[in-house]
Symmetry: C2
Subunit: 142 residues, 2 copies
DNA sequence: TATTGTTATACTCTATAACTATA
DNA sequence: TATAGTTATAGAGTATAACAATA
């Protein structure tokens, strides 16, 4: 690692490299799933919060609205979710999973679980908790 | 964060979110620089290791060879580096910065420095070191 | 045979701006 | 006037496969 020189002290680089490693491993692990990380997290979020709106997903997952649209459209085309009318705000929509969506989410949880096992195998439980705490200070600043 | 449910325990998600936050901040901070994170890291690496070959950059920065090509081409078009013939292997090339390349790297270091200050401001020095150590276990597994 | 650089291609991701309908 | 959804578009990133020259 000496060849990296002082580049090795750049925290941003380490996060970028770690993210790349995780993305590549996910692609292999999720080959048969036919869902991306983002699509899974959206599916997961709707499963945990039936009736959630696109804007809320955008905020929670820090994806811009246009990209959320593309993801929702794709998942709807595959009949994994429905866009229901909101009971309280005619501008927004209440997103819910279909039966096929729940099935796909269950499969995705399996894949994500194995992927997370691969990732967390290198840490003690307390280290995982601390890593998450440290990373949260970046994406959810106090 | 309760709305995320057990999604909050997925380490991969936290790294993806942190990476996104950093990428967005970099884009703002580097507006006048006209270089991407990858371009800067390549420039930096060549500055620290004159004569390095594309394949080495590919390995160290974990970027596939085709993408390294695109980056090197772009930097060469902007006259920030030269492709010299390798003294030992006719297949590979020795990459070196031009004077303009050194100047651009110096400017980039300023921008990266400010960006890293923003990022590391939320940590004690020991926390930064530990975070880097933990992340290194992902992108450079033992 | 394996590696280095190279080209071409396709797909995903991301950001932006603008439009509509509702609030 | 602000927000939710929508559409279109352009740019960056990523992955793959194939080829020529060299090891």
């Amino acid at each position: 690692m000496a060849v990296l020189g002082d580049l090795d002290t750049i925290l941003g680089l380490h996060i970028r490299l770690a993210h790349g490693s995780i993305r590549r491993h996910f692609s292999e692990a999720a080959g048969d799933l036919d869902l991306t990380q983002k699509q899974v997290s959206v599916l997961w979020l709707i499963g945990a919060n039936p009736g959630i709106a696109q804007t809320q997903i955008s905020r929670l997952l820090q994806i811009d609205r246009a990209s959320v649209m593309a993801i929702i459209n794709h998942l709807q085309t595959r009949a994994l979710l429905r866009r229901n009318a909101s009971a309280t705000d005619a501008r927004s929509q209440a997103l819910v999973l279909t039966d096929a969506g729940h099935t796909a989410l269950a499969e995705a949880r399996q894949v994500i679980g194995a992927h997370e096992d691969w990732l967390q195998a290198r840490y003690a439980p307390a280290e995982v908790a601390q890593l998450i705490a440290l990373l949260s200070r970046i994406h959810s600043p106090q």
